[in-house]
C-alpha cells in the first residue's frame, strides 16, 4: 500500500480478470526474461511524509544561506510573496503544454502577457514563450544567427559571463561553428578589435550589458558595424536593468536574450530560471520554441493559441528551428506576475535602488586602505575592486560574519553584487569587516 498507488489487491485482480491475464507479469511477456527484474532495486526503504520532510530539512540546513554578495548572472533579489502563492495553484503547476487551448486559456494568456512584457522591455517586436535559461538562450541566438545568415562564425565579447561563453562553445563545437572572442579595453568590448574581424564572414556578434564585470556597455556601434556586413547583432541583457537603461531596440539590436532570474526568481542553487529571446518580425519565423498568438474562437471571442508551429520539432522534426519542447512555462508566469506587480514605476524604482546601494558600497570599499577601483563607475549593481589582501582571507572573514563573499575575477580582484536587498546596516558592516582585514 502507498498513498500514491490507488490500486488495491482486489482492484488488481478484477482488472487482470477483465484484461484476461493471470498476473501483471503476463503483460510483460514481450520483455526478454533475462532482463526482467523480479528483485527489488535497493534504493532505500520508503519514508513516511514526516520522515521525508525531516530528512530534507536536515539536508536544507546543511546549506549555509548567508547574506549574499555573489552575482555573476544570478542575484539575490526580493521575491514578492504573491508569486510563489499564485504559481503554486495546481491549475498552473500541474498542467502541461497548452495543446488543448479550450481548457488552457490560463496558461496561454499568461504566456501572451509574458511575451508582451519581454517585447516591452526589449523594445523588440516578438518574443517566444521561453527557453531553458540565459545561457542556452544565448547559444540559441547564435544558432539563429548562423541559420539566418548561412555563416558559421560568430564573434563574442570576452566580457560575456564565462557561463554563457561555456555554453556557446559547447553548442558551437558540435556544429563546427567558429567562436571568436573580442578583446577588451578597460573591461569593455573593444570596438577597434571588433572592426578588425568584422570582415563579412561573421554570422553575428554577441555583447552583454551589464557585462560580466558589471559594466554597462552600449552595443550601438557594434550593431551598426555588423549590420553593414549583413550579420546579426545579439545582446544579452539583465532584464531588471531595462527600466533605466537603453533597450535593445534603442541599441539597434536584432536579437535580445537573457535570463529572467533577476525578475524575482529565487536563486535556487542554479534553477529553475528562464531564458528569454526577443527579435523583430524579420526573424520571427526563425525563433526557437513555442509562441502564443491571439486569435478568435468559432463564436468570434478572443482566444489564445499556440501558433507559428511550423518552426517546431513536432512538425518539422530535423528541420525545426530548435529541438526545444518543454520550456520554462511556469517561470514565465513567475516573471509575468513580478512585472505585473512592479509596473513601470516599480521597475525604475528597483533599478535605482540597485544603483544607489551598489554605488554606496563601492565608494566606501574603494576608499578603504587596501582596496582600489579597477574600472570606471558605470555599473548597475555589481562591481570589481582590486585589493592587496588575500582573497581567501576576505572570504573567510566574511563567511565567519554571515556573508557569502563575492566572485574572484582575478588573483587580486573581487566582484561584489549589491542589490536592493542589501540594507545600509549590512553594507556598513561589510565595509567595516573589509576595513578590519590585515595582511597576514
Amino acid at each position: 500500500m502507498h498513498k500514491y498507488l490507488p490500486q488495491t489487491e482486489s482492484d488488481i485482480q478484477n482488472m487482470l480478470k477483465s484484461i484476461g491475464v493471470k498476473d501483471i507479469k503476463a503483460l510483460f511477456k514481450d520483455v526478454p526474461e533475462s532482463i526482467y527484474l523480479t528483485k527489488e532495486i535497493k534504493i532505500g526503504k520508503p519514508l513516511s511524509e514526516d520522515e521525508l520532510f525531516k530528512h530534507f530539512e536536515v539536508l536544507a540546513n546543511k546549506n549555509k544561506t548567508n547574506i549574499c554578495l555573489l552575482g555573476g548572472g544570478v542575484y539575490d533579489h526580493y521575491v514578492p510573496s504573491v508569486i510563489p502563492a499564485l504559481v503554486a495553484r495546481q491549475e498552473f503547476l500541474t498542467s502541461y503544454t497548452p495543446y488543448q487551448p479550450e481548457i488552457s486559456q490560463g496558461t496561454l494568456q499568461y504566456i501572451f502577457e509574458y511575451q508582451s512584457f519581454i517585447s516591452e522591455l526589449t523594445g523588440l517586436e516578438v518574443s517566444n514563450a521561453s527557453l531553458y535559461d540565459g545561457a542556452t538562450a544565448t547559444a540559441e541566438a547564435m544558432l539563429l544567427a548562423c541559420g539566418a545568415t548561412r555563416k558559421d562564425k560568430i564573434a563574442i565579447s570576452s566580457a560575456l559571463n564565462p557561463r554563457l561563453i561555456d555554453v556557446i562553445k559547447t553548442y558551437a563545437s558540435k556544429r563546427n561553428i567558429k567562436v571568436i572572442e573580442i578583446e577588451l579595453i578597460k573591461g569593455r568590448t573593444s570596438l577597434k578589435a571588433f572592426n578588425k574581424i568584422n570582415d563579412g564572414s561573421l554570422a553575428g556578434v554577441i555583447i552583454q550589458t551589464p557585462n560580466y564585470f558589471g559594466l554597462l556597455e552600449d552595443a550601438t556601434p557594434f550593431s551598426a558595424a555588423i549590420k553593414e556586413n549583413k550579420g546579426l547583432s545579439i545582446v544579452a541583457v539583465n532584464p531588471l536593468s531595462l527600466g533605466l537603461f537603453k533597450s535593445p531596440l534603442e541599441m539597434g539590436i536584432d536579437v535580445a536574450v537573457g535570463d529572467g532570474q533577476s525578475l524575482g526568481i529565487p536563486m535556487g542553487f542554479g534553477g529553475p530560471y528562464i531564458g528569454f529571446m526577443a527579435t523583430n518580425k524579420t526573424y520571427m519565423r526563425k525563433l526557437p520554441g513555442r509562441i502564443v498568438g491571439s486569435s478568435l474562437d468559432s463564436e468570434g471571442k478572443r482566444a489564445f493559441v499556440l501558433t507559428l508551429q511550423a518552426r517546431e520539432q513536432h512538425i518539422r522534426r530535423e528541420k525545426a528551428t530548435s529541438n526545444i519542447c518543454s520550456n520554462e512555462s511556469l517561470m514565465a508566469l513567475w516573471v509575468t506576475i513580478y512585472l505585473a506587480c512592479l509596473g513601470n514605476k516599480g521597475l525604475v524604482d528597483i533599478g535605482n535602488l540597485n544603483l544607489e546601494n551598489a554605488h554606496y558600497a563601492y565608494k566606501k570599499i574603494i576608499s578603504l586602505p587596501h582596496f582600489k577601483k579597477v574600472y570606471d563607475a558605470d555599473f548597475f549593481n555589481e562591481f570589481v575592486v582590486e585589493t592587496d589582501l588575500s582573497l581567501k582571507t576576505i572570504d573567510r572573514v566574511l563567511l565567519k560574519n554571515g556573508y557569502t563573499s563575492g566572485i574572484h575575477v582575478g588573483p587580486h580582484q573581487i566582484m561584489f553584487a549589491i542589490t536592493e536587498r542589501r540594507s545600509q546596516a549590512e553594507i556598513d558592516h561589510l565595509v567595516e569587516l573589509l576595513g578590519g582585514i590585515k595582511h597576514v
Binding site: Y4, Q7, L27, E102, R175, M267, T307, I315, N323, C325
Partner: protein, 484 residues
C-alpha cells in the same frame, strides 16, 4: 466570464509592490545621459489584490492533474505530491546562490549525489549530469557525448544518427542541433524496428541510434537485445529516450537492454509537475566509459563530504549552473517516498491501467496493435467513425470534464489517439473515463454533429488556428494596434 488582460489594469500611480527604503543618495544623471532609456513601455499599474485576482481568474481557465484525469500520452501526467513542493520550498534550497563555496552547499550537493546514486541503480548507468533542463535538452547532451566519444577515438566518419519514424520530434531535432545527419528508418506497423531496414543502414558512418522503449505505440521492442547488439557491432552507440520509462521503472534497466546513454524526464517518471510546459529536468546518464564526457562538474563523495570533480574530456556546460536543481529535489523526494518496495509498482500499475483501458475500449475504438501494451495505448479513431475524427473525440472529452489524450502522434498511426493513464488513477476513475469514451463512440454513431461541434461547454470554443498563423498577434501592442 472574466475576460481581462493584465494590461487592462493601468490606473496611474497605483502600485502592486513595495521596496526597502532608499538610504543612499546617488546622482544617476551622468549615467543615464550615456546609457539611459528613452523608449517608453506599456506595463500595467495594478494593486496587489488586482494582480492576485487577475492570475487567480486565469488559473480558473486551466485544467490540471488535480482537476481531473489528464491522459496525455507520452507525457506521464501523474500526481505531483504536495510534500515535494513543500520540500523544494525550504529556504535552505531556494535561497542559495549556485556559485557558493563547496562548504556552503553541502546539502544541495548531497541531494544531487543521492539522486545520481538512485538513478544509477534504477537505470544501471554509471554517472549522471543534471544540467539538462528538459528531455530534449537531455537528448542534445547525450548526443554530444556520443559525438565526443567517436571524435576522441579519431573516428571522424560517424556523422549519422538512426531514428525510427515513430520517434518523437525532439529526437531528430536534437540530432540536427548536434550537427548529426538523421537517417529515418520506417518502423513496422507496430512501431517496432524493422531489423532488416536497420541492418541496411548500419555502417561505419553511423554514430548511434536513438530509441524509446516501449516505443511511441506503447509496444515493447522485443528485439531490443538484437538491435543494440547490431548497432554496437557496427561501432555505434545506443541512446535511450527515457520519456517512456514509466513503463519499465524498477522492472527493466536500460543498460540491460544495451543502452549506453539516456535521459530521464524527471517531470514524467519522477512525479515533478509539468508547470504548463516546464520547468522540467532531463538528467543524462551514461555507462562507465562515457562518464568522462559528462558536463563538468560531477559530484563525488569523500567521507561524509561532497565535492566537485572535473574531467578534462568533458563536452562542456550545456546550461548555466546545475540545471533545474529545485526540480531535482522534488524527484528525490518522490523516489524516497516510494522507496524500494514500491518503485516497481509504479510501472506495474501504469501498465495495468493502460491495458485495462485498452481491453475496455477496443470494441469502440480502432486499436492500433492488438497485443498487451505497456504504459500507454494507441487507438486510431472511432470504429464506424461516421465522419467523426480523433480531434472531435478529443474535443468532446473536454465537455465531459477530461483532458484529451495526445492526438495525431505517433505520426505512423492514422487518427492516432494516445492514452496514458499513469499509475496515479484508481479503477473507479478509469471506469468512468471508459464509460465516457464509450458514450462518445455512441454519440458518433447516433448524433455525429454533436461530437463534431464539440466542445460545447468550455469557456471558448474551437479556435481559429489558421487565423492565428496568418495574422500573428503575439503581443499586447500588436493586439491593440490591429484593426480588421
Amino acid at each position: 466570464m472574466y475576460n481581462k488582460l493584465i494590461f487592462d489594469y493601468n490606473t496611474p500611480n497605483r502600485v502592486g509592490y513595495d521596496l526597502p527604503t532608499h538610504f543612499a543618495k546617488f546622482d544617476n544623471s551622468k549615467l543615464l545621459a550615456k546609457y539611459g532609456r528613452k523608449q517608453t513601455m506599456i506595463l500595467p499599474s495594478a494593486s496587489e489584490l488586482e494582480v492576485v485576482r487577475h492570475y487567480t481568474n486565469l488559473s480558473l481557465k486551466n485544467f490540471g492533474v488535480e482537476t481531473g484525469l489528464y491522459p496525455l500520452g507520452s507525457c506521464t501526467m501523474k500526481y505531483n505530491p504536495k510534500v515535494d513542493e513543500a520540500i523544494a520550498s525550504l529556504k535552505g534550497f531556494t535561497n542559495l546562490h549556485p556559485l557558493v563555496s563547496v562548504n556552503e552547499c553541502q546539502g544541495s550537493l548531497e541531494v544531487l549525489y543521492e539522486l545520481s546514486q538512485k538513478l544509477e541503480k534504477i537505470t544501471g548507468m554509471s554517472g549522471f549530469t543534471f544540467e539538462p533542463c528538459a528531455g530534449a535538452h537531455g537528448e542534445l547532451t547525450g548526443l554530444m557525448i556520443i559525438k565526443q566519444y567517436h571524435l576522441a577515438r579519431k573516428d571522424k566518419k560517424r556523422t549519422k544518427i538512426i531514428i525510427p519514424d515513430s520517434a518523437h520530434g525532439t529526437n531528430p531535432a536534437s540530432s540536427n542541433v548536434c550537427g548529426f545527419e538523421v537517417i529515418s528508418i520506417a518502423s513496422n506497423p507496430d512501431g517496432r524496428i524493422n531489423l532488416s531496414s536497420l541492418k541496411s543502414v548500419l555502417n561505419d558512418e553511423v554514430a548511434g541510434i536513438m530509441l524509446t522503449n516501449p516505443n511511441t505505440l506503447g509496444m515493447f521492442e522485443k528485439d531490443i537485445l538484437k538491435i543494440t547488439k547490431l548497432v554496437h557491432e557496427a561501432g555505434g552507440l545506443c541512446y535511450y529516450d527515457g520519456a517512456n520509462l514509466n513503463a519499465l521503472l524498477g522492472r527493466v534497466k536500460p543498460t540491460a537492454m544495451g543502452f549506453d546513454v539516456l535521459h530521464l524526464n524527471l517531470h514524467k517518471t519522477f512525479g515533478t509537475p509539468h508547470g504548463g510546459g516546464g520547468p522540467g529536468s532531463g538528467p543524462v546518464g551514461c555507462i562507465a566509459k562515457l562518464v568522462k564526457y559528462l558536463p563538468n562538474p560531477v559530484i563525488i563523495q569523500k567521507g561524509d563530504h561532497y565535492e566537485f570533480s572535473n574531467s578534462k574530456t568533458s563536452i562542456g556546460h550545456v546550461s548555466g549552473y546545475y540545471g533545474n536543481f529545485l526540480v531535482c529535489v522534488k524527484a528525490l523526494a518522490f523516489i524516497d517516498s516510494l522507496g524500494e518496495t514500491n518503485i516497481a509498482k509504479v510501472s506495474d500499475n501504469a501498465v495495468l491501467n493502460a491495458n485495462y483501458i485498452k481491453e475496455a475500449l477496443k470494441q469502440d475504438y480502432k486499436l492500433a496493435i492488438n497485443e498487451p501494451c505497456k504504459h500507454e495505448v494507441v487507438f486510431g479513431g472511432v470504429i464506424n467513425e461516421n465522419g467523426v475524427t480523433t480531434l472531435d473525440v478529443a474535443k468532446r472529452l473536454l465537455d465531459y470534464g477530461y483532458h484529451a489524450p495526445t492526438i495525431y502522434f505517433p505520426l505512423i498511426v492514422n487518427e492516432a489517439m494516445m492514452i496514458e493513464p499513469t499509475e496515479s488513477e484508481s479503477k473507479e476513475t478509469l471506469d468512468e473515463f471508459i464509460a465516457v469514451l464509450k458514450l462518445i463512440a455512441k454519440e458518433a454513431r447516433e448524433n455525429p454533429d454533436l461530437v463534431k461541434g464539440a466542445p460545447h461547454t468550455t469557456i471558448v470554443k474551437r479556435i481559429d488556428e489558421v487565423r492565428a498563423a496568418r495574422i500573428p498577434l503575439l503581443t499586447y501592442r500588436e493586439l491593440i494596434n490591429y484593426h480588421e
